[in-house]
Amino acid sequence: MAEAADLTPHSEHPNYPMRRTCPYTLPAGYQELLDRPTLGKVRLPSGRLAWAAARYEDVKAMLGDNRFSSDLRRPGYPLMMDHQVPPPEFSTSLVGMDPPEHTLARRAVAADFTPRSVNRLRPRIQEITDEYVERLLAGPRPVDLVDAFANPVPLLVICELLGVPFADRDFFLRISFTVMNATTPEAGTAAMAELMGYMDGMVTEKERTPTDDLIGRLAARRGEPGVPDHRDLVGMAFMLLMAGHETIANVIGLGAMLLLDRPLLRKSLAADPSRWPAAVDELVRYFTIAEIANSRVALEDVEIGGVRIAAGEGVLGLTVAAGRDPRRFPDPDAFDLDRVDRSLSFGFGAHQCIGQHLARTELEVVLSTLFERIPELRLVEPVESLRFKEEHVNYGLHALPVTW
């Protein structure tokens, strides 16, 4: 089992991350892992090997198993690069914690992310979306939909959730985009430090004068079990920004592209808008834009997918592949609104995406509003000539030129 897999010459382990060359089909490397009889290994940019679960059932089993740790400071954790171990003063917030500490910490914030809480944000999400649709309509054509719409809308929703004061929002937008689009490591580090500094100041301000938003309410509950201290609250604000901005922006861009590329699908949604939630679930499966958060290290020996993963070995949950596993999703490359099963694209286990209901609601409001308000929207160039983030941690479009 594990021994047999280890006989594979190292050169035969596929490299990870895998380049995504076509937005609609699964890269060949993922397909090979899906077709293997047992779990295989991949080679990370650091040169290290990690196990890679690709089949739906294996990914689900692995992510749901508390014998795998999310603590990225633990030896053997499959970091992409060895130097990515966060410095001790940097809080990895919920992401790097394991149960039972994680369970308490997650519960301290979970009520803000339930479907009911997210629904209370819906009118604001609609307002922000309407404002940016108006700006599109008043602006020049053609326009880059990623830059003018898909990026700013989710960022403003995160501002709303965190409680970033209105006066600071232009600064916040500018610095967040600098972090995302930095062309040199130095520029990225500098922008990151500026953003962390801002977050620290904002949290301190809310500790002094609690406000009725996620960060303000948590600051007011300091001392309760699981409620983050100052450092962890800054880390959490930062994590929610990172996890909730570019991810959703990418799905907005890819979703708009797919809909513009498929007139029949667009027509069926226009005829029956109650299908939008199903379309969003299917977009989330179809593009599965991120999977890096599904990395774990084994705390003890675990049998999974026909192999024995030894304590201290790293394993990746490849939800990109799992979303196209034909054992779970028949005809997996078809975009099908009638699928009933939910994908693993928001993860599984204790770390399943805390913002999943927010993401779904945003995607539904943003995409349905865009196509209702600008039904003549169309691509300026064919999908084949668009530029994709083929090797990024989060898959998406660099730009989506559209007109109407």
Binding site: G64, T103, R106, R107, A111, T114, R116, R342, G349, Q352
Partner: protein
């Protein structure tokens, strides 16, 4: 069938509420599962099974009466 919960595992992900809102709700305080009806009627069985299968922390299970 009857719904059983291992409440200390729940993280309040809300997948049970999405799958079967007639059987599950979430606490306003910490998001954890609130079982509205432990007894599952025949007509609710498919939704209940979906909720059990979709629960990320395996908090839920179905048992015979």
């Amino acid at each position: 069938m009857r719904i059983r919960t291992e409440a200390d595992r729940c993280i309040g992900a809300g997948r049970c509420y999405l799958a079967a809102p007639e059987l599950f709700d979430q606490s306003d305080h910490d998001g954890t599962v609130v079982v509205l009806s432990e007894r599952v009627a025949q007509a609710q069985l498919a939704d209940a099974r979906a909720a059990v299968e979709d629960c990320p922390t395996r908090t839920l299970s179905l048992t015979e009466e």
